[in-house]
């Protein structure tokens, strides 16, 4: 009996001790789980040349100034390529939380481009568990450079058009590492020789490693399946850093591509990394909240 009493008193003592130590907030009934989205897998909407799995938020306009200088191996006379420059000016806009549209103009072949980027899966946990983010990007590029090749006659407007369709499947694995895979189809309305394919299939892979809170290392590679391009065209490889300073993201990188629109860097890259045909370049992204959505 005494033992029983002792046991009881122990139990009571233990339970009251627990009640004192635990937070009163633990007494509240369980709340419904909320969706917890993975955010900021990349610092901006491009890895280097190509699209990352991030979108501009609803109502945010992103002004992008992108530069690629000449080849490093041109040596000191051309100041390691800095005397030459290829430039793209672009505006991207977040139309809804899942849709971005953008336009741009590149000096490379005097190209105008426009794109639509749709996010249809958003990496999240909690209420629902979706391990990946998935997007679709379609863009059109219009080459406006005057045709100097007299053997192409007539040179029609349709000759100037190029289309790219891309699926982006990516995941932010942790605070530091994000990876994405981009199977891509580039359609070129016009190619010079019959050895070149109008439809080019490209497999892209890209990722980042965050080094500090505000600096990340990015890598991006586009593998063109064999026998689609004329000899002399190379796969695009770029390596660079993102530096974030509040409203701006500065991207500094080395790449063997000069074009900054999908069809240009995927199918018209001529630089060879092994020979030093590497361009220093930068992208500056500046965002403006032009529309404030109601939460």
């Amino acid at each position: 009996m005494a033992r029983f009493l002792f046991l009881c008193s122990l139990l009571v003592a233990f339970s009251s001790l627990r009640a004192q130590e635990g937070s009163m907030l633990d007494l509240l009934p369980e709340d419904e789980p909320t969706a917890e989205y993975a955010t900021a897998g990349f610092k901006t909407t491009r890895i280097i040349n190509g699209h990352s799995f991030e979108l501009n938020s609803h109502g945010v306009m992103d002004f992008k100034i992108s530069h690629r200088f000449g080849r490093l191996n041109t040596g000191p006379y051309d100041f390691f390529g800095l005397d030459a420059a290829s430039i793209r000016l672009g505006l991207d806009y977040g139309v809804t939380p899942w849709l971005n549209v953008g336009v741009g103009r590149s000096s490379f072949l005097k190209t105008y481009d426009g794109f639509v980027k749709v996010k249809f899966f958003k990496q999240q946990k909690g209420k629902r568990n979706i391990p990946i983010t998935a997007l679709w990007v379609s863009d059109m590029a219009i080459v406006s450079q005057k045709n100097t090749n007299t053997s192409i006659d007539p040179y029609l407007f349709s000759h100037r058009l190029n289309y790219t369709h891309q699926l982006i499947v990516g995941r932010k694995f942790n605070e530091a590492i994000s990876l994405q895979f981009m199977p891509t189809l580039v359609h070129r309305n016009f190619v010079i020789t019959s050895a070149e394919a109008n439809e080019v299939i490209v497999l892209g892979v890209g990722g980042r490693v965050k080094l500090t809170k505000r600096i990340a290392l990015n890598i991006e590679y586009y593998y063109v399946l064999p026998d689609q391009l004329a000899p002399g065209f190379k796969n695009s490889l770029s390596v660079g850093f993102d530096i974030e300073t509040g409203g701006h993201v500065f991207q500094l990188h080395f790449t063997n591509s000069t074009g900054m629109v999908e069809n240009a860097f995927m199918t018209q890259t001529t630089g060879d990394w092994l020979k030093g045909d590497v361009h220093f370049g930068f992208n500056v992204s500046r965002v403006f909240s032009v529309y404030r959505p109601k939460h």
């Binding site: 009996m1 029983f4 009493l5 009881c8 009571v12 009640a19 937070s23 009163m24 907030l25 007494l27 509240l28 709340d31 917890e36 955010t39 900021a40 938020s57 609803h58 109502g59 945010v60 605070e175 809170k213 505000r214 300073t245 509040g246 409203g247 965002v287 909240s289 404030r292 939460h295």
Partner: protein
Amino acid sequence: MKKGIIIALLALGLGQVALAQNRYFTRDGHVEFFSETPLENIEATNDKMTSVVDFENGKFEFAVLIKSFEFEKALMEEHFNENYMESNDFPKASFVGEIEDFVGIRNSNFPPGVEMAAHGKLTIHGVTNDVVLPAIVTPDGDEYRLSSIFTVKPSDYDIEIPNTVRDNIAQEIKVTVSAVIVPLKK
């Protein structure tokens, strides 16, 4: 004898239930903060604060998820979570404390305008400091309205602000907590 013990245990159990009924809580309390500088004003709101007040002894707790703060600009929200609060590592901010002379003020049915002092520990960004927060409780039918306005210095909580944005973020940030608390039924 055995019967006596059972009755005693039952009474103890009932006592605990009775105690629990004197707790008031909320799940959708409001927290907002405001940073004012000549360059820029930054404000954020959160409507998912949880809080419990024990009316028997004045024990007072509240907690918010950092990721639930909403900003006017999406990029501010991203930077707030990623660069300043590091909300993946420190998902919550919380206060655990006790309101001074709560029972006395409760017994006089919370005279209007009486500001009480809640002594306790405020944890933000993984750093805990001893603080005294003002607290006002106003009866409203079966419910009570609870509010508290105080300031927080980011530097007290190891929140690093780089030189480039030092002029955009206030040294002292005004925090407003308000909620309607209702009886907690077990």
